[in-house]
């Protein structure tokens, strides 16, 4: 039986399932203007950040999500130089992006407190925050993309919370139209797109909204992510003006940096979709 003071559990209403980690103590908590942020020490997954009762990341398994939100898109774009991260306040995606020879990356998270907590409890994820190529802004990502100079960006990474609360406006056609306008020809948007097993309606709605906004091609990638509902997650790439034709396999295979999950084979593998997903997408 669960002794609830030893566990942080999150109920996933959409799937009638629950997941939790055993905790030794609450490390911190803060009510920001936007959300309630809690930090726990777990027995086996290092530290854990929880926002509005939803598990965001743990020390032990965040590499899966952060690597898959950054390396596939950056090895798919032929020459990514100007990168924007919307959300991503824990700085884990930023760290991965900065492993690439990009010119500039701007991270726009609405909530400075997420980054302040990450600096304290996930310092390894913030290790590259002072890279001269990186700019951290704490502002509204929706407004930022609306006001971005047309055709100024190569890659936009949407590393947001779920489509409720502050993240809600990042999952609709208007936002995708802003992204499309801000991308250079051939530019790519990538966004975390929930679980193929339990969020299929949302995943399909995102893909439809991206297409409706005018993106020329979509590619949904799958990967494991233990602390998210079902343990199985996706991100979706959307390309402006052009179809996808593979990725820079050689560059990925010879990447001069270390990763825990990503490699060229894993990238290829992530593009393979199960039959039930192909059927849902109308691809089979």
């Amino acid at each position: 039986m669960l002794k609830t003071d030893q566990w942080f559990t999150e109920i996933f209403a959409a799937s009638g399932s629950v997941f939790g980690l055993e905790i030794t103590k609450k490390l911190d908590e803060v009510q920001s203007p936007f959300q309630h942020i809690e930090l726990f020490e777990t027995t086996q997954f290092g530290n854990m950040m929880v926002i509005d009762s939803v598990i965001m990341l743990s020390t032990r398994d965040n590499f899966l999500y952060h690597e898959m939100l950054s390396h596939p898109v950056l090895f798919t774009h032929p020459n990514p130089q100007q990168v924007v991260i919307i959300g991503g306040g824990d700085c884990g995606t930023l760290r991965e992006v900065l492993k690439h020879p990009i010119a500039q990356v701007t991270q726009i998270d609405i909530d400075e407190q997420v980054t302040r907590m990450a600096e304290k409890y996930f310092p390894e994820l913030c290790a590259s925050n002072n890279d001269p190529r990186a700019t951290l802004k704490f502002a509204d990502g929706i407004a930022f993309m609306r006001d971005a100079a047309p055709e100024s960006l190569d890659v936009v990474i949407v590393d947001s919370t779920d489509p409720i609360g502050p993240g809600e406006g990042l999952f609709n056609r208007a936002f995708y139209e802003s992204c499309l306008k801000a991308l250079k020809p051939g530019g790519i948007l990538v966004q975390q797109s929930e679980s193929p097993l339990i969020h299929m309606p949302l995943l399909k709605a995102m893909r439809e909204a991206m297409t409706d906004a005018g993106f020329a091609a979509l590619q949904t990638l799958q990967f494991p992510q233990m602390v998210y509902p079902s343990g199985w997650w996706t991100c979706t790439l959307a390309r402006k003006d052009a179809q996808f034709d593979g990725f820079r396999v050689e560059a990925a295979a010879q990447a001069p940096f270390n990763t825990e999950y990503y490699n060229a084979g894993i990238h290829q593998a992530a593009m393979a979709l199960p039959n039930f997903v192909l059927r849902e997408f109308g691809l089979k």
Copy 2:
């Protein structure tokens, strides 16, 4: 907060994590000579079987595991005819095996009650049990393999519970030596091999025991499986006398039967291993 009468939760001690499904009622339970079997109706995952407090399968997501334990090995072997399933009492693996043009498959589960419960609460998994090519035995799989005629089998599928309780003897060198002897040259053993994220010591020990027993080549495949610890699972193929050189891609691509997860692309993808796994296996 969890109201415990609405949830069946399983604590994974090895990872300090907990997973559960919301239940509407307990459907059945039986104490067999070997284990305690419970059946629940869940709100969103159909029926669920629990053995000795460990979640075995749900109606909604068992296709992942059953397809991945059967189709990859059968499309890797050049001409599988004689197949044995050790364990597998819910008959889900058997159903998938019988989609292939094999000559004969024998399933040996120690506990007849697992199959009786599956017939009642997972009838779709038992739909092929009367296929004339299928034989269901309720006996000790360890003894069955020890006594099997040498070089009589093409494929042995070990679809067992975890390496505690009745399943324990299925994860060691002596058992693998029995399997090796019973396989024809080029024959393949496949076994579920736990989570790469949280059971790495066990997975490595299995691979070592398979090698020590004399198997010539190993191949670990990864796939999602929501109701098992971490939601990320593996199976490991071990081949007698020969290296692996891919699989029958064309046959897999043109399979004349339906699957929900498996296809040729997914098979290829399952063989891609993350960097941390490659390092653990000494392959990188």
